[in-house]
């Protein structure tokens, strides 16, 4: 049977983010980006263009790099979402985060959450990526500060760290 969600009132949804389950009321016309930042108090994911044109809002949905500004919240319920807040293991930074900090892969930091999760998906699938594979994987993430070189080098360093 067809499921129906009316547009004009808040609905309850079960979101699985960074391993935690949240049962929240949210407006069904919100994007996942809006739900994360406004209803789940997870502002690590950034809003840039809000139109799919920058990659700042990237998160992993079931492990797949996805733009949260273009995904409706109601299509993200009951799926596994990973945001930048879920990368570190308590106080221990993820090797990607450590490498970005050490090698200048992050300057103003606005693009960084989207870059980090997208790079994580790459390393999960391709532990030893070539420079070209890194460039291709991050081709949807704009960065105004670093000139990209430090980002590519940081991903390479993290790959070394993850799979020596």
């Amino acid at each position: 049977m067809t499921e129906e969600i009316a547009g004009d009132q808040k609905v309850m949804g079960r979101f699985r983010v960074n391993g935690d389950e949240h049962h929240v009321a949210y407006a069904p016309h919100k994007t996942l980006l809006e739900v994360l930042r406004e209803d789940l108090d997870l502002p690590g994911t950034k809003h840039g263009c809000e139109l799919g044109e920058c990659g700042a809002c990237a998160v992993l949905v079931d492990g797949v790099p996805t733009l949260s500004c273009l995904l409706l919240g109601l299509e993200a319920t009951e799926r596994e979402v990973l945001t930048v807040e879920g990368l570190a293991d308590d106080a221990r930074l993820h090797p990607l985060q450590a490498a970005f900090a050490d090698l200048g892969g992050s300057q103003c930091g606005y693009c960084t959450p989207g870059v980090l999760v997208t790079a994580k998906a790459l390393l999960d699938e391709t532990p030893k990526p070539t420079r070209e594979q890194i460039q291709e994987a991050l081709a949807g993430n704009l960065c105004r500060c670093t000139g990209y070189l430090q980002i590519f080098e940081a991903v390479e360093a993290a790959a070394e760290e993850c799979a020596p």
């Binding site: 067809t2 129906e4 547009g7 809000e50 139109l51 799919g52 409706l72 109601l74 081709a139 949807g140």
Partner: protein
């Protein structure tokens, strides 16, 4: 935040249910696949559907069947299409086109069906509501919005024109038409199958011939023998993100001596529909420099780009010629070095490893 206007959301569990909903609710209902075209358009008030019919639950639309040729479900993501190992080398134009849409994240979300039904684009239309209001809404104004004061009328690109010239910017359409693809359309009345080329109209507003209550369910690639080869060239400002502003999908069948037995050449992103060139002049002779030059010269006229996308119009016209010639030279076997710089950026990603 730019908010998506409110809508009612329906999630049918089968193609039949979806077709039934559409029959009852068109025109206020619209199909919703990956949303990578619709969500930005809804945020800018270009399209304001009251009801979204979500296709995510229709697993049948994500299946691939080998049935002589290959049938691809319209709900497959562009990433899956670009990585589909069963697409033969002869039909790699589709892999190249799907692999060059937008960005990796958008290809993970956007679907093949959504790409074929993509709204047409124009510099005067893909702007936010206030921008369009400020210069005066053009013909392609939103229907559902309360803008009674709008004077639907002037096309800012061709003011004396009776029609809208917004551009069909789908990457997969010209590639698939060059490959001779067909599509299945399903409505409450049943299913019909048409050549993909017949899906498109030369009108920026009524750009699809399919009825609004029809779902595109499958794309059918014909069976091909090893005499076929194909390619897809795309012009855009950056090597990622950007829509095509000229593209060429080309497929030829060559005999052992290099004589053309059949050819299909399609130009995308210049006008409101993909432009299918008459390739009969190429048949029966080898792809010599002279034959290619004559064909590419003749391609400029039917292509007729207008000045409503990125890049200067006169340059896009020149590129039409260069890209048609370049694609055909690639198909006759010229190497990347012989093809030069223009070619390397046009057909940069050649994921041959993905082909069987």
């Amino acid at each position: 935040m730019m908010r998506v206007p409110q809508f009612r959301y329906l999630a049918p569990k089968s193609v039949g249910e979806a077709a039934k909903i559409l029959r009852g609710e068109v025109p206020s209902a619209q199909l919703f696949a990956g949303g990578t075209d619709l969500i930005p358009n809804m945020k800018r008030g270009q399209q304001v559907p009251k009801t979204l019919v979500g296709l995510r639950g229709l697993h049948a639309l994500r299946e691939v069947h080998a049935d002589g040729g290959l049938s691809l479900g319209a709900g497959l993501s562009l990433s899956s299409v670009a990585g589909e190992g069963r697409i033969p080398l002869a039909q790699r134009a589709l892999i190249m086109a799907a692999g060059k849409v937008a960005t990796p994240q958008i290809r993970n979300m956007g679907t093949l069906g959504g790409n074929l039904c993509l709204d047409t684009r124009c510099n005067y239309y893909n702007q936010n509501y206030e921008w369009r209001e400020a210069i005066g809404f053009c013909k392609k104004a939103p229907d559902g919005v309360a803008i009674q004061e709008v004077t639907h009328g002037t096309c800012w690109v061709a003011p004396s024109s009776p029609r809208c010239w917004a551009v069909n910017s789908s990457d997969s359409a010209p590639a698939l038409i060059a490959l001779g693809a067909e599509i299945s359309l399903v409505s409450a009345d049943g299913e019909r199958r048409i050549p993909l080329a017949e899906l498109y109209h030369h009108d920026g507003m009524a750009f699809l011939s399919k009825r609004p209550d029809e779902l595109l369910t499958q794309v059918h690639l014909p069976a091909v023998d090893a005499s076929w080869r194909s390619t897809y060239w795309k012009l855009r400002r950056r090597g990622s993100f950007d829509f095509p502003v000229v593209s060429v999908g080309a497929a030829v069948s060559l005999d052992a001596g290099g004589v053309v037995q059949a050819a299909r050449v399609v130009i995308g992103a210049v006008t409101s529909a993909p432009v299918v060139l008459d390739a009969s002049a190429l048949v029966g002779a080898p792809l010599t420099d002279e034959a290619i030059a004559a064909f590419a010269d003749a391609a400029v006229k039917p292509a007729r780009p207008l000045d409503n996308t990125d890049f200067h119009l006169s340059w896009r016209k020149r590129v039409v010629r260069e890209y048609v010639a370049g694609a055909l030279r690639e198909l006759r076997g010229d190497t990347a070095d012989q093809l030069g710089l223009l070619a390397r950026s046009a057909a940069r990603i050649l994921p041959l490893a993905a082909c069987s």
